[in-house]
């Protein structure tokens, strides 16, 4: 099936930025705290008999030991694979028997364990969820299998220009920094990981004190709390390192990296550091990015590079707001011999916007779209759980969603111009290219 615009990108951007529509449409986020410190954040939704939840801790890939990138990711694989009480076959059978969707994953800051179940399987689902969390199996044979499959997948992913670019980008933007590698790791880094590394990470960071459990679905807080207390009260302690125990990367400008890959297109990425999640100017930068290349059709980059010149299928920009400044990225793919032209169009757009050439009309169009589309950004349990756990992990206020539209609306053209001057000067951006040797 073909799509006019790459949807996964849209989903990605939506997830990262959080959002909200008609204020009356947003159910409140309810908060409770378990005795061991776990913050429970719930948004009720009773239209489908299901419950989704995600437990998030500060234990992502930035806690991987040096040269052992992929440790958190492998820990996620291990925790969901089997437990001390159930070998992997019995475990898979047990979960499938009740259609329990259990998963785990690692981002740069976050490590999460997630569960989606039918309402009538909530009890067995929570049993499995807490068993996976609290009774890891550490089976050596399974570790070896998961590790080897992860290495093979890492090798396969070397065929993908996007993966190669992300690897180069992480190393370029974050030299000697915990954000300097992809969460999945590489063939070489995965090979160096032992089961002891997983146990070390688990013992240090998988703790309840700063954990957030985001829940959305057909349940109330009164129903949920006893179920959680019965299963999670034995879990105790505080993570060795907190979310904010990290120094910002220094920032680089004008650097370049090229990766040779025998493809017909060249992937061109321009990169720099963007705002952190708690940046005081988050909303002005957010609206600015929507105008630049975050808003799909209608954004300046899409208009100039695709609509006016037909050079690409897609060009977009995004920033990843983390505990400290994360990547701000502009990315496009075009036939290799057109790469220079496409890049110079992007740089012209950056220069124009940095010098203040931004119209009020365009700002209004971006704000209208952002504000109007807020409701649909949270119209499923999966999306709501994603937003709520982000709010919890980064300690954003609980009225973040209900005030979101207001804060977008309050952004002024002057504020946007200030941020454009701060972020969009072409000489401050770095470049990664992935494509055929002959065109590099």
């Amino acid at each position: 099936m073909n799509m006019r615009f790459p949807r996964p990108l849209i989903a990605f951007i939506v997830f990262m930025v959080a959002s909200v529509t008609q204020a009356q449409a947003i159910p409140p986020i309810q908060q409770a705290q378990l005795e061991n410190g776990v913050r429970v954040l719930l948004m009720e939704a009773h239209n489908v008999p299901m419950v989704s939840m995600k437990l998030t801790m500060s234990a992502g890939s930035r806690f991987d030991a040096t040269d052992k990138g992929g440790t958190a990711s492998l820990l996620a694989d291990m925790l969901s694979d089997h437990t001390a009480r159930h070998g992997h076959i019995a475990w898979d059978d047990l979960l499938d028997a009740d259609a329990i969707k259990l998963g785990a994953g690692a981002g740069r800051d976050d490590f999460s364990l997630s569960l989606t179940v039918l309402k009538d399987a909530l009890n067995t689902g929570l049993d499995a969820f807490s068993e996976a969390l609290l009774q890891p199996g550490w089976n050596k044979k399974r570790f070896s299998i998961l590790k080897h499959d992860a290495i093979a997948a890492a090798q396969k992913s070397r065929e993908e220009p996007g993966v190669r670019a992300a690897q180069a980008a992480a190393a370029l933007l974050f030299p000697q920094h915990p954000y300097g590698h992809r969460p999945g790791g590489t063939m070489a880094s995965l090979k160096r990981i032992s089961i002891a590394d997983l146990k070390t990470l688990y013992a240090a960071q998988i703790k309840p004190a700063d954990a957030v459990l985001a829940v959305s679905g057909d349940i109330t807080m009164a129903e949920l709390l006893p179920l959680l207390n019965a299963r999670l009260s034995v879990w105790k302690g505080k993570a060795a390192r907190g979310l904010m125990d990290i120094s910002p990367a220094k920032g680089v400008a004008g650097k370049q990296r090229d990766v040779a890959l025998p493809t017909t297109q060249m992937l061109v990425q321009l990169l720099r550091l963007g705002p952190a999640r708690n940046d005081a100017d988050f909303f002005p930068v957010f609206v600015l990015n929507h105008m630049l290349g975050g808003g799909g059709f209608g954004s300046r980059l899409m208009e100039e590079v695709r609509e006016q010149r037909g050079l690409v299928y897609g060009v977009y920009s995004y920033f990843q707001p983390l505990a400290v400044p994360g990547p701000f990225v502009i990315t496009l793919q075009t036939r290799a011999d057109q790469a220079k032209e496409a890049e110079s169009v992007v740089r012209d757009v950056l220069a124009a916007m940095a010098s203040g050439k931004i119209s009020k009309q365009q700002m209004i169009a971006s704000k209208e779209n952002l504000i109007g589309s807020f409701a649909q950004r949270m119209d499923s349990n999966r999306e709501r759980v994603g937003l709520i756990s982000m709010i919890g992990l980064y300690h954003l206020p609980l009225d973040y969603l209900s005030r979101w539209q207001q804060r977008v609306q309050a952004v002024t053209l002057d504020q946007i111009r200030v941020q454009a001057a701060r972020y969009l000067k072409p000489e401050q951006w770095n470049r990664v290219r992935v494509g055929p040797k002959s065109a590099l």
């Binding site: 099936m1 449409a25 239209n47 008999p49 080897h148 090798q155 396969k156 695709r306 609509e307 349990n381």
Partner: protein, 442 residues
């Protein structure tokens, strides 16, 4: 993964057939052939509008592949009332998102918007459907964009490329042999006149199904569709190209040499699709067999071929019961550096032979049924998937009214039905095998 197969996979995983929570469908058909199907859901003030057309890759003539998909681009390039790009700008200003997708069997345009704006969206959709501008200047730009799309999705992706070759080798007549995005050679030759001729022939009211799911009122919406799409002049509807694929005479195989890192082996087999009331048990048995092979955590391909025998690091299989004419069933194994296509292939067929010989356990069958039912309920959580299921069933000829009958068919399947379906359909003599050999390290 090829576009069509990728699409089938996602459909397979998410295909929802009305669980207890699905609301009732309300339908209306207008004199010119336009159909409206609505599922009201007042839980949030949003609505999903999808315009489904019984037009897709199968309606192209040889040498003009990719033409149906060109419309997915040109529909945003202006109409009598709207300048190029204006359509999306208006949707965006109302806080909506718009997009479109094309398959061999259909084209669909959709918008998620605040519920209060649905009337406006229906009017805009009707206007561009009836009065598309189709200027050569825009076409020349868009065809370049489409070639970039093809380079990105297919030329530079060895898995995709391999599945494209494999589909072409698997079928002799059926249009699933052609890529929806079109062969590059055809894309280079398409002209604005081709586009205009296709538009005239296929963008007719009798090919339109309007699907709306969300916070709307059916009666009010019926009036709106009557005064927009319903007003268009009736025009002849071309019968769709749906040839009978000749039976395979024996196993076929191809080798695809591309720059890649690791080998892959894939198998395709033409199998029947669901015809309600005619082959419910057979189609449902094929779906369950596929789920047991590749669907859940306990999937037999991953358990036996990946975990036990260590012959691949990733496996998958897919069946789309609501394809048109036939479905190209598929299975694949991603192979690590020390895993060989020969060993994987042998073990794969041994597994299928065993499923034909021995009944699956009642525990395994019950889990597969439970997971397919649950997937259906989980999918109710997404307006997009709900509307998509309705539109899809309607345009391929199964009929949205049949959506509840699929799970009923699934419930009825016995271990013997699965054995029978596997023994009859999923056999070497009907298969085509493709092997991706990394020519140079990518």
């Amino acid at each position: 993964m090829p576009l069509r197969l990728m699409f089938i996979l996602s459909l397979f995983v998410s295909f929802c057939v009305a669980g207890a929570s699905a609301a009732e469908l309300q339908q209306a058909t207008f004199k010119n052939g336009v159909k409206l199907i609505v599922e009201e859901d007042h839980s949030a003030p949003v609505a999903m509008v999808q315009i489904w057309l019984k037009v897709g890759g199968r309606d192209e003539v040889p040498g003009k592949t990719g033409l149906a998909h060109v419309f997915e681009h040109m529909m945003f390039k202006g109409s009598k009332k709207l300048a190029p790009g204006e359509y999306s700008k208006r949707i965006s200003a109302m806080g909506g998102n718009d997009n479109a997708f094309t398959s061999t069997d259909y084209t669909a345009y959709f918008e998620t918007v605040p519920a209060s704006r649905v009337n406006e969206v229906i009017a805009m959709e009707a206007e561009r459907f009836a009065h598309l501008a189709l200027r050569d200047k825009d076409f020349q730009k868009e065809i370049r964009v489409i070639m970039e799309e093809r380079r990105m999705r297919t030329e530079d992706d060895p898995n995709s490329r391999m599945f494209e070759e494999l589909s072409a080798a698997s079928l002799r007549l059926h249009p699933y042999r052609n890529p929806v995005i079109g062969w590059m050679q055809d894309l280079k030759k398409l002209t604005i006149d081709d586009v205009k001729a296709f538009y005239k022939q296929h963008y007719v009211p009798g090919n339109v199904v309007v699907v709306v799911v969300g916070d709307v009122d059916f009666k009010q919406l019926k009036k709106r569709v009557a005064s927009t799409f319903g007003r268009m002049k009736a025009r002849p509807v071309m019968p769709r190209f749906n040839p009978t694929e000749p039976e395979p005479f024996g196993p076929k195989r191809i080798v695809v040499k591309l720059p890649a890192q690791l080998p892959m082996l894939a198998v395709t087999i033409p199998v029947p699709v669901w015809k309600p009331g005619v082959n419910d048990t057979e189609a449902a048995a094929l779906a369950l067999a596929t789920h047991i092979l590749a669907g859940g955590r306990s999937a037999r391909m991953s358990r036996e071929l990946v975990d036990e025998k260590r012959l691949a690091f990733n496996t998958g299989a897919g069946y789309d019961e609501s394809a048109m004419g036939l479905d190209l069933w598929y299975a694949y194994g991603m192979l690590g550096s020390k895993q060989t296509p020969e060993a994987f292939e042998k073990a794969f067929w041994k597994l299928l032979d065993e499923m034909a010989r021995k009944p699956v356990s009642s525990k395994q069958l019950a889990a597969a049924k439970r997971n397919m039912t649950a997937a259906n309920i989980f999918a109710q959580d997404s307006l997009y998937l709900r509307a998509k299921q309705i539109g899809h069933l309607e345009v391929v000829g199964i009929g949205a009214a049949n959506r509840d009958n699929w799970l009923k068919a699934i419930e009825q399947v016995t271990p013997a039905d699965i054995q029978k379906a596997v023994a009859h359909w999923l056999i070497r003599d009907r298969s085509t095998t493709g092997i991706l050999i990394p020519e140079v390290k990518s």
